[in-house]
Symmetry: D2
Subunit: 277 residues, 4 copies
Amino acid sequence: MIDSRKPVFLVIGAGAGIGGNAAMRFAAGGYHAVMARRSDEAGLARMVEEIEAAGGSASGTLLNAAEDGAIEELVERTERDIGPIHAALYNLGAQIGNRALDQTPHRIFELGWRLGTYGVFRLAHALFPAMVERAKTGPHGTLLVTSATAAMRGNAGQHSHAAAMGGRRMLCQTLNAEFAPKGVHVAHVVVDGAVDAPDTLGKLLGDKFEAFKANKGADGVIDPAMLADTYWHLAHQPRNCWTHEIDVRPWTDVAWWNDNPNPEINAAGKGFAGPKD
Amino acid sequence: MIDSRKPVFLVIGAGAGIGGNAAMRFAAGGYHAVMARRSDEAGLARMVEEIEAAGGSASGTLLNAAEDGAIEELVERTERDIGPIHAALYNLGAQIGNRALDQTPHRIFELGWRLGTYGVFRLAHALFPAMVERAKTGPHGTLLVTSATAAMRGNAGQHSHAAAMGGRRMLCQTLNAEFAPKGVHVAHVVVDGAVDAPDTLGKLLGDKFEAFKANKGADGVIDPAMLADTYWHLAHQPRNCWTHEIDVRPWTDVAWWNDNPNPEINAAGKGFAGPKD
Amino acid sequence: MIDSRKPVFLVIGAGAGIGGNAAMRFAAGGYHAVMARRSDEAGLARMVEEIEAAGGSASGTLLNAAEDGAIEELVERTERDIGPIHAALYNLGAQIGNRALDQTPHRIFELGWRLGTYGVFRLAHALFPAMVERAKTGPHGTLLVTSATAAMRGNAGQHSHAAAMGGRRMLCQTLNAEFAPKGVHVAHVVVDGAVDAPDTLGKLLGDKFEAFKANKGADGVIDPAMLADTYWHLAHQPRNCWTHEIDVRPWTDVAWWNDNPNPEINAAGKGFAGPKD
Amino acid sequence: MIDSRKPVFLVIGAGAGIGGNAAMRFAAGGYHAVMARRSDEAGLARMVEEIEAAGGSASGTLLNAAEDGAIEELVERTERDIGPIHAALYNLGAQIGNRALDQTPHRIFELGWRLGTYGVFRLAHALFPAMVERAKTGPHGTLLVTSATAAMRGNAGQHSHAAAMGGRRMLCQTLNAEFAPKGVHVAHVVVDGAVDAPDTLGKLLGDKFEAFKANKGADGVIDPAMLADTYWHLAHQPRNCWTHEIDVRPWTDVAWWNDNPNPEINAAGKGFAGPKD
């Protein structure tokens, strides 16, 4: 059911993890959530029902974001049939696990770019003109972009993912430079830890998922329902104090810029500048 | 008036800008705010009154943070006389405006370090053992650290300030690495824009302050009362999704990593990699 | 003329700027330089002649690096017909000048990726297996990658270029993580200033090029013949002290991380943390 | 023996690792090397003899760089008695091994700052005016600064070291911003690996040093005699293409921005952005 008096929150990549939970949070806050994902129409319908059961408003649609025109058509259709998109979340990843270079085929590398970088460009291209227009007299627009550790540094086996996410980050900074002063808030969220997301990490790990989480200890994995509050906060910062980049990780996780904190290794090696007397 | 059943929020650097407004926000949220600043006892009293008038609980104290033992004594006294400090904000800056190297005396450079870097170390030294102890069975502790553009990059005239803030940032990362898994959340807030702070920027600019703000345009200067919501959000993220670093700036401000966006200059110079055919 | 007893230095993007001058420098140092560029067969022939006149060995070939298979074919042909590629330089840029998002068509954005990111992936895919094999018993291999300011931060109008270069940088870090311990040195060179390159910047600026350089003052533009010494140095660092990333710029240029150093603007704004007493 | 017709290369922190080897390299290249270190007069004399035996020119002096006025006096004395300092190397570290916060006394933290940050400030204060003056009509001046992984990110146990090195890095950027256009080249060298330095790492590890190096494998530890070539290269880049920051590490070392490259850990955790379909 669509309540067209509500502002629209569009989620591209609305699985049962960050995307779906962000939709739920924004619906609870008064938005109509439009959830798009590649597959699992039943899962999508369940999420719509869950949001409506909680008194919110939502709708879902299947979307192959890698296909030319698909994102553009979704934006156009949403604005026309539902209402103005006041906030959007680009939540597609491009993680394929670690693969050595010779196990990373060219078409995989290209697909990484299509989902990881190009899709953000296409969404901005389709969405920002209307947001800019609306910001002249009304509220500002927001584009939240879920990003990953690989946007900050490449690592072994991350050829496709890191290239895609590095492009994503620099693109977000470029979008911010052009569009912030025109009233569009772009926020790049560096998710630097494992997420309790059954549709992605869960599928990747399969039956090892529960053991993985247990091994992380209490609150050792990001709960996407709680992370959704940070997304909500970002989308509602007044324009005098916008955040462009933020990192999140569980308390027990080592931050991406830290290597093995083993004292013996470190004291003897990294960080040792040279002769000092 | 002290309500000792409330958790304590300690602010070091509680002027009428970020520090005072954070105190107000946390008091509104149920904390007893302990506000410390170097001078202006009357201003301090007014802030306490304002918080109490709004139904909150607060107390104030003068503090010379550059003095050995002062921060330690304040922490000890607060924990003993008022209650456990559940969250603290280190909000002392070390900005002295731009000064060429030969206009930056050695004692100024050292004072910059004392306020900018050493004070954070001393606060953590005095405060974290109790926070760690309490986190074993109760809620986690939080240290918010207001930081500046100069923590991210040095710039002409910022010898003292950038060295102090660069030290601050690396120290915060070190504190995070040791204490996050022990239940203390350290968040480094990069304030990358001018703040509407009469006690600091206002004094620095004097009678040009109003013209400066007007020139920035609508919402062109950070409103510390609104920024306080971001501080509040950070301090209350559940431990499965803590933020360590976040930036904030007004929508119309150029981010620190962007130089002059003049198209002609840029097209011709920066970013031009070299022969491409 | 090909001297097949020499190690080969392959340059992809061998115009009259960084690429051609690097070829000249490596030829002077005893390599056979293979220079590939998209067009201007006459210019290519002149560079070969110039190198041979100086007593060096070189050959040239036209290459459309955006075409599938072209880089792979060049690597295969070079190794088969000339000799083992001991060092390579990827010198293709993707700069198109500053363009607003709505002036950046989708095909341009994709082409930026093809030249800026994907080409590096394809070169590594084609070249590294042989380098790894040779490093087991012989000298290590080297991949030098010319990069740009836009690899470090996005800026207004750089949608295509920054996304491409950001992907390039993260890819280089990923390649380094996998291949450094296998004997391939990947070095990412951040060229953070204008280069005296007639084939690229010269063409972009047209008849304003000379005035642009004059306006930069003495040594205000990078001389690619001199920069070539830094490329040479990087390629010959012993494997106990490899550099992965280095920046270069003229002495009079403002570094990318510095904005306008105007004292008044800075003192009043950026870097001002907040209330400090 | 002092050859006053030679340009002077001043090394602060001239032990048997990076400092001493840089002195040897610059002496071989035609400089008179002035080597200062805190202790071990005999070791200093041996290095002078070694340089002279190789046909170079050098002198040594003991220096407590943490003492007020000591660096200033050394600069003044060198310029007066020996000759103009054309290049200097600040090579003092502040590494004390990993120590938890409660094992890091306040005086150690302050000493870290004195050696790690303040000494660079004091050297620049004392040295740059003469360098700027000379650069107006003659060759540019150079300040090389050996730095460490801890300048890039804090890590557990590095409270003192990271704060000191973070301050150092931001100070170097500030010095660069003011002095590059005045003809002083400041280069910040991030040594991101263990150095075969008997006076520092050797003393720290004691009788485990040889086993540590053996365990690192062939070329697994930086050879300071070879790294000295990179220092030499930096100091002699022409001013149209100066490097401000460069990293170095052994080929087998994991870069500071990479954590454990264990595929299983990574695939499951870090870098995993969230739901993607």
